[in-house]
């Protein structure tokens, strides 16, 4: 029951975590645009989220396993967090003489995209909680 009400708020949380980690990596890349030998960081989290979704859709028992607790009447909110995002250094694609591979235009485009995605996810999360609030208030 509870997982139906709270649905995928933990997925929102993971997406927001992944996006803020990506934002941090982009800030580090832009800060080091003139540092010789610096290699840019990249954050991938969509892959992990997608695998997670496929797993959830594939077998409902997995969700049940995540929600299992000691006493049957206890409840949890499911697997929160979990560190779905992974960060790695990109060593290839060196095209500058100082061995730095930060392309400032690419970074700024990614920055704009990350901000928009983050705002979208935050709005979705907020709508989710607004819906829950309405549910709690109106059903009696």
């Amino acid at each position: 029951m509870l997982e139906q009400i709270f649905g995928n708020t933990d997925v929102y949380a993971e997406a927001l975590d992944g996006l803020s980690l990506r934002q941090k990596a982009l800030a580090q890349n832009v800060a080091n645009v003139d540092t010789p030998g610096y290699k840019r960081f990249d954050v991938a989290y969509e892959g992990q989220l997608r695998r997670r979704f496929e797993k959830d859709a594939g077998e409902q028992s997995e969700i049940a396993a995540d929600l299992r607790v000691g006493n049957e009447r206890h409840f949890t909110l499911g697997p929160l967090g979990g560190g779905g995002a992974s960060i790695q250094r990109v060593d290839r694609q060196v095209y500058r003489n100082d061995q730095n591979n930060v392309d400032i235009e690419q970074e700024m485009a990614r920055l704009a995209e990350t901000t928009m995605r983050f705002n979208t996810m935050a709005t979705l999360t907020r709508n989710k909680f607004d819906g829950l609030k309405t549910l709690i208030r109106e059903i009696r």
Binding site: A27, V33, F118, N119
Partner: protein, 140 residues
Amino acid sequence: MSFFDALGASASALSAQRLRMDVISNNLANANSTRTQEGGAYRRQMVVFESRGGQPQAMDGDGRAAPLGVKVAQIIEDQSPFRMVHDPEHPDANAEGYVAMPNVNTIQEMTDMISATRAYEANVTVINSVKGMAAKALEI
């Protein structure tokens, strides 16, 4: 906290680029200085950037990650030879009538200046974007 790491990275880049700008303006101001405290003509100075901190950390770390960003490792002097100008009337002219002028190339300094300005602007954009994300997260 997560957002402050990104802000710190961009802020360190702002001060590093500002220091670079200070060095550039000092070079331009001394483009014709034939006397220094160390003796001899002025030598062009250059900043050396060094990446600070390791890999950006996700939110669920221990919260004591090294600060991100960039720092000025040192300011070095350009050891390229002085520009020799024939000017026998000059008080610093040598026996052959040549004056050692600073090894400052005005065009190079101007392009460095534009590069520093653009990098500064990029980091300001990152700071604004991170601020927008943090404000949006507060709306959840």
